[in-house]
């Protein structure tokens, strides 16, 4: 069974005006392989082309060039209904004049399925989603979470190879969002279908995706499983986009110091200096004197020096945000703040001098010009 695999090859989407003149290229020749049964998340800031890509897979947007195939079939010229897909929209897109039952049955009715079959399918699906007691109601009478569940049910009854989600949780309140997030994950576990999920929320991407495809300006920045994406970002964009609070990114240069190489931040005041040793020193040796970006995640700045591969950084505290079990400490640095996530319940104060230790094993260095990671 490989029916639900989606292959996207050299996909381009250029929007045109009324006259057919090109106005804007939203997707710039991307390639993406989505395995059968995989939960693939497309994530990126607005305008990155993620929704356009999804709509092209759905067949709602014409493909400018390239191919999309689902299973073994190239679907470029197939109608949406013939692609074996179902889609859940950000704004639910329920039919307001129809009852919940008819909303879910609409596709089956159009496909001229038998009445008994429709009745059976809809009631089974609605029961599983806890909607069975509101089938006669109109969407207007439902809460946001219930409406999105109806949209989900409408997708499920189509029995598609591939589920497409276009920011389905963005319109829900925070609590509902968390609940629906786990419901969709559970659904994926039960059905085992391929799911392509578009979101701008990196927390959703990290918690739900088998793999995540990070997009920016119509290009794919990196495709990887959540932890790889978190630990080994390929470029500055991914490094800054994934993780909250974001990775600390300090602009500067690698210079030769007394005891070896050091990273020196390029700034007029508060510039930090970090001595380099271990594997990162080997990498840094390749870019001595060049403009680079030094990346370290907040949780890899600790108060204690550990097992040799740490380097001290001293600065003063700008702001401290105690969060109970941990504190986010914003330290002064030349280019913005250096944020440390420090465990423990100690209180920190503005202006207090502090020394933290950089876990050098977790450092990522980026070329400031190409923005890609240096290996």
């Amino acid at each position: 069974m490989n029916d639900g695999a989606v292959h996207i090859t050299d996909l381009v989407k250029t929007y045109t005006d009324d006259r057919g003149r090109p106005t804007f290229t939203a997707v710039k020749k991307i390639n993406l392989e989505i395995n059968n049964g995989e939960f693939m998340v497309l994530v990126g800031p607005s305008g990155c082309g993620k929704t356009t890509t999804l709509r092209m897979v759905a067949g709602l947007e014409k493909i400018t060039s390239g191919t999309i195939s689902i299973g073994d079939r190239v679907v470029n010229d197939l109608e949406p209904k013939d692609r074996g897909i179902a889609m859940v929209f950000q704004n639910y897109a329920l039919y307001p004049h129809m009852s919940i039952f008819n909303n879910m049955a609409f596709g089956l009715q159009l496909a001229k399925k038998k009445k008994d079959f429709i009745q059976e399918t809809v009631s089974r699906t609605s029961k599983a989603l806890g909607l069975d007691h509101m089938l006669e109601r109109k969407p207007q009478a439902l809460s946001g979470g219930q409406r999105q569940r109806v949209a989900l049910g409408r997708a499920i009854v189509r029995n598609p190879q591939v589920f497409l989600f276009d920011e389905p949780l963005s319109n829900l309140d925070a609590k509902m969002r968390v609940q629906m997030r786990s419901e969709i994950s559970r659904l994926h576990g039960q059905l085992g279908n391929t799911m392509i999920y578009v979101t701008h929320d990196q927390v959703e991407a990290m918690t739900m995706g088998d793999r995540i495809c990070v997009m920016k300006d119509g290009l794919i920045m990196q495709v990887a499983d959540p932890l790889t994406l978190y630990r080994q970002p390929e470029n500055l964009f991914v490094a800054g986009f994934i993780g909250s609070p974001p990775m600390n990114l300090l602009k500067g240069k690698v210079e030769k110091g007394d005891g070896g190489l050091v990273f020196k931040e390029t700034a007029n005041e508060n510039a930090v200096t970090i001595p380099l040793k271990g594997p990162v020193e080997t990498i840094a040796a390749k870019v001595v004197g060049k403009s680079i970006v030094f990346g370290i995640r907040p949780e890899h700045l600790t108060e204690e020096s550990k097992n040799g591969s740490t380097a001290p950084v001293s600065s003063t505290i700008d702001i401290a945000e105690p969060m109970g079990s941990e504190s986010l400490v914003y330290m002064r640095a030349g280019t913005g703040n250096l944020i440390a996530r420090i465990h423990g319940e100690a209180l920190y104060h503005m202006g207090q001098p502090i020394t933290v230790y950089v876990n050098l094993d977790k450092v990522a260095l980026f070329d400031a010009e190409t923005e890609s990671v240096i290996r």
């Binding site: 045109t16 005006d17 009324d18 006259r19 057919g20 709509r55 759905a58 067949g59 709602l60 109608e79 949406p80 209904k81 897909i85 179902a86 889609m87 929209f89 950000q90 704004n91 639910y92 897109a93 329920l94 039919y95 307001p96 004049h97 609409f106 596709g107 159009l110 496909a111 109109k138 969407p139 207007q140 009478a141 439902l142 946001g144 409406r147 409408r154 189509r158 319109n171």
Partner: protein
């Protein structure tokens, strides 16, 4: 001034304005109604009838019921008037023409508006602006042209020429640009994701239009229908030029023909004018249940 007095003064002023504007609407209407019940053919002029001035003759006339007319008040000589059925015929003519034309307008402007709202094609925005500019010229300016065109069509297709209802409806159907704008404006407020969703569910573009977009747009179609209907029931210039035979006339043209240069039958005219409000009122009540807010709510969240 005490606050109480000030409040009272405000209330008095507000109510005076309201009563005055109500009077402005209701008094002419009352005058016409009274003229239709007044003995003799007097123009609407009074707000009071003495008991001996009342009569149902004008109403009998327009409804085609025979009645005796007083010829000479001194001798008491009367004559049996057996009215021709013309007024009722005009009434039906108007109903038929206005209903068919209103449905036609909805059909044409609805589909055109869909194209302007949802499709991409060359000169789309220019055509839309053009429609608006065209609408600024009164239709009456093109009346002679319509006359010639219908005359020409009539030579080849007799049932669509001058003196035919089809011809008149054809002309009425040409004045739809403002309706296209109104309906397009409404379509623009409906999220296209509904139709996207319908297409994924397997609906063709036409099915998505008919089964999803149209039911959701009932309010605007009701408004367009009722506005077209009212304007056509009371339309005079075009109908008077196209329909020249007495029995063919629409209500507005027929009513005006009662105000002949030599004999102005104000009483008959008033009764007919009041009668013409009946279909409009009925149509309005029928359409009103569609003109409700919130029909599209709950489907999409913006």
């Amino acid at each position: 001034m005490l606050p109480r007095q000030r409040l009272l003064l405000k209330k008095v002023i507000a109510h005076s304005v309201l009563i005055a504007s109500c009077a402005l609407i209701l008094i002419p209407f009352a005058m016409v109604v009274l003229a239709s019940f007044r003995k003799g053919n007097f123009p609407p002029s009074t707000l009071w009838l003495n008991p001996d001035q009342w009569t149902l003759d004008h109403w009998k006339y327009v409804l085609g019921i025979p009645y005796r007319e007083l010829l000479n008040a001194a001798t008491g000589e009367t004559k049996l008037v057996n009215p021709t059925v013309a007024p009722m015929r005009w009434f039906l003519n108007s109903l038929v023409v206005s209903s068919i034309a209103s449905f036609g307008i909805i059909l044409l402007s609805g589909t055109a508006a869909y194209a302007f709202a949802r499709m991409k094609f060359r000169f789309r925005s220019q055509i839309l602006t053009g429609l608006l500019v065209l609408q600024m010229f009164p239709q009456i300016l093109t009346l002679t042209a319509y006359y010639r065109i219908l005359n020409y069509i009539g030579e080849h297709i007799p049932w669509l020429g001058l003196n035919t209802y089809a011809g008149l409806i054809l002309i009425y159907l040409s004045g739809i640009s403002i309706n296209i704008w109104m309906i397009k404006g409404y379509f623009d407020t409906i999220s296209p994701s509904m139709e996207d969703s319908a297409r994924i569910d397997g609906a063709s573009r036409f099915q998505a239009f008919i089964r999803i977009l149209l039911p959701m747009s009932a309010p605007i179609f009701a408004v367009v229908f009722i506005l077209s209907f009212i304007s056509m029931i009371s339309e005079y210039p075009t109908a008077s030029v196209v329909l020249q035979e007495s029995a063919n006339r629409t209500l507005a043209v027929g009513a005006y023909s009662l105000l002949d240069e030599h004999e102005k039958l104000w009483g008959h005219f008033s009764a007919l004018a009041v009668l013409s409000g009946v279909p409009i009122t009925i149509m309005f009540l029928l359409c009103q249940r569609f003109i409700i807010g919130g029909l599209t709510s709950g489907g999409a969240k913006e």
